[in-house]
Chain length 320, copies 2
């Protein structure tokens, strides 16, 4: 009898974890990512989007950036063609993703911006998929010549959060380059300068339906014959990562993902996505898409505290 | 073996519920209620207090209210002495509180403001404890003559929340009148005009340590001999309420309350308490203390959604 009660309680907790994301959608989440036709005031943005942790796409937010009209291959070759940048290279487009029982990171190749453009424009044939995706404020660190074509921050966002961005990142990649599903500890403003980005978004409340496993870290390494090998990072601790691919989820293996409700959105040139902290996201792009994103450190306060509770309870009861 | 795993899981969930309030304190809660020397901007108040759901005491926030100098018994008798108001009367000061297996509400007595002042000032001896505590915007509804001595809302709070208060309440009570521990679905600005209020506050994250039970609703009713009887409200559903008295908690009966960390604060004349939504509070006051509070409806969004998860998981696993 005692044991029966215990088992019943675990089922009750599992029901709580199933009801919670449903109630999130009933209470405050949108079924699609809404558009704002212009940037809001700092207070309004805080109250309506940052506070409730809801994504939106903002139009006409960076029309005044010279980058919007200037950043084409010819201009970029002139302005930064000889600069050496870090490029993530993988055999299949999957950088920082699960492969078998490994978490595989890309080869980080140093190359000039011109030679990257040669690959993107198809002028040079190259083994592997190339993606400028280094998230260490690579725009200001590696390509400072381009900073005058944008703004160093988003004024109403900096005002809303009362701080400056931690990082301004530059993104340029091939259409095969994919960012596997993950979440960041940042409030993210993602500005598409040319082409388009395709996002699959899942709210933090869907965490109970998202599998995490521990993987041995490894990196892709280019062999002399031009093929890639996977090399384990010795002495590295195992990394928790999401094995599920939202483009073709394995529902036999992860049946509770059926209950997740991913939002799909496309962010086009001139549009800005507000991607709230702790939202899971998977990203693809049109070939040669250029984007700039601003990472503002998130607050580790009540919402983070609650998210940790959600994660720990989900971990304690196991798969739903 | 299977059953053992289940039992283990429940213990793990209980540990999550114990760790969560501890982490709340480590991450973002204060050990005491901090003071702001002047009202902040709307955005700053939203970002630093409303968003993270943290209480504070604000000084110099309503210095310009004529009420601060005018609201003494002589003036009040002149201005509203003949007005009839609703007064909560109880034999012991406990209105809306657990008594045995009942949830007992006060007698709601209609009386003139002058006759209430006679009781408060000790000019008339009266059985029972009197407290003006009706939370139906009784200031604007019952005492509109007094509204010109205050402001109809708190401008920076209305700006922060993008809305007007739902209710403006007037409070005047005896020192024996106690408000038992409960929470409200409001962002609350509590302005002490004269005397002082003593608050015991518990964050929503301490919910796992706070007992709730279901009680038969009843009301105090004055008998002809001047004593009170408790009369059940027939056809009323049972009411969930907190049986625990934070002034003398029964730790034998509710041992996990040892893990709660109540904050004690005194709000003095001229000071304003920001009491965030869903914070548990227990209130006493100096004899004849006058206060005005503004209730702004809370947002039923991510924090509410998470609080409901916390409540449901705590309910599923039972007492810690």
């Amino acid at each position: 009898m005692h044991h029966y009660v215990m088992e019943d309680s675990i089922d009750n907790v599992k029901n709580c974890l199933r009801d919670f994301p449903k109630e999130a959608r009933e209470l405050y989440l949108n079924e699609t990512v809404p558009y704002l036709e212009r940037p809001p005031s700092a207070l309004q943005f805080y109250r309506e989007w940052i506070g409730p942790n809801k994504p939106c796409i903002i139009r006409n937010a960076f029309d005044h950036w010279p980058a919007l009209s200037k950043w084409n291959p010819t201009y970029l070759r002139e302005a930064v063609g000889s600069k050496v940048i870090s490029v993530a290279v993988t055999p299949n487009g999957y950088a920082d993703a699960v492969l078998g029982d490994r978490f595989v990171m890309p080869e980080e190749r140093q190359m000039t911006f011109s030679s990257l453009l040669d690959v993107i424009e198809g002028k040079v044939k190259s083994g592997g998929v190339f993606y400028v995706q280094k998230q260490c404020s690579n725009l200001t660190e590696e390509l400072p010549e381009l900073t005058e074509d944008i703004e160093p921050h988003i004024p109403w966002m900096s005002e809303a959060l009362g701080k400056s961005p931690d990082a301004v990142n530059f993104w340029l990649g091939e259409s095969r380059a994919v960012t596997s599903m993950h979440k960041d500890h940042y409030e993210n403003l993602y500005c598409v300068v040319s082409g388009e980005k395709h996002f699959i978004l899942l709210p933090p409340s869907d965490r109970p339906f998202i599998p995490y496993e521990l993987y041995q870290p490894a990196v892709y390494s280019l062999k002399e014959d031009g093929s890639f090998e996977v090399v384990d990072e010795d002495n590295s601790e195992k990394v928790p990562w999401i094995p599920l691919d939202p483009l073709k989820p394995d529902l036999e293996k992860y049946p509770s993902y059926r209950l997740a409700k991913p939002l799909h959105c496309t962010v086009r040139a001139g549009e800005m996505l507000y991607l709230p902290s702790l939202w899971f996201h998977h990203v693809r792009q049109s070939h040669g898409c250029i984007a700039v994103n601003f990472w503002y450190d998130m607050e580790y306060d009540i919402k983070y505290n609650y998210f940790r509770l959600l994660e720990s309870v989900a971990g304690a009861v196991g798969p739903l």
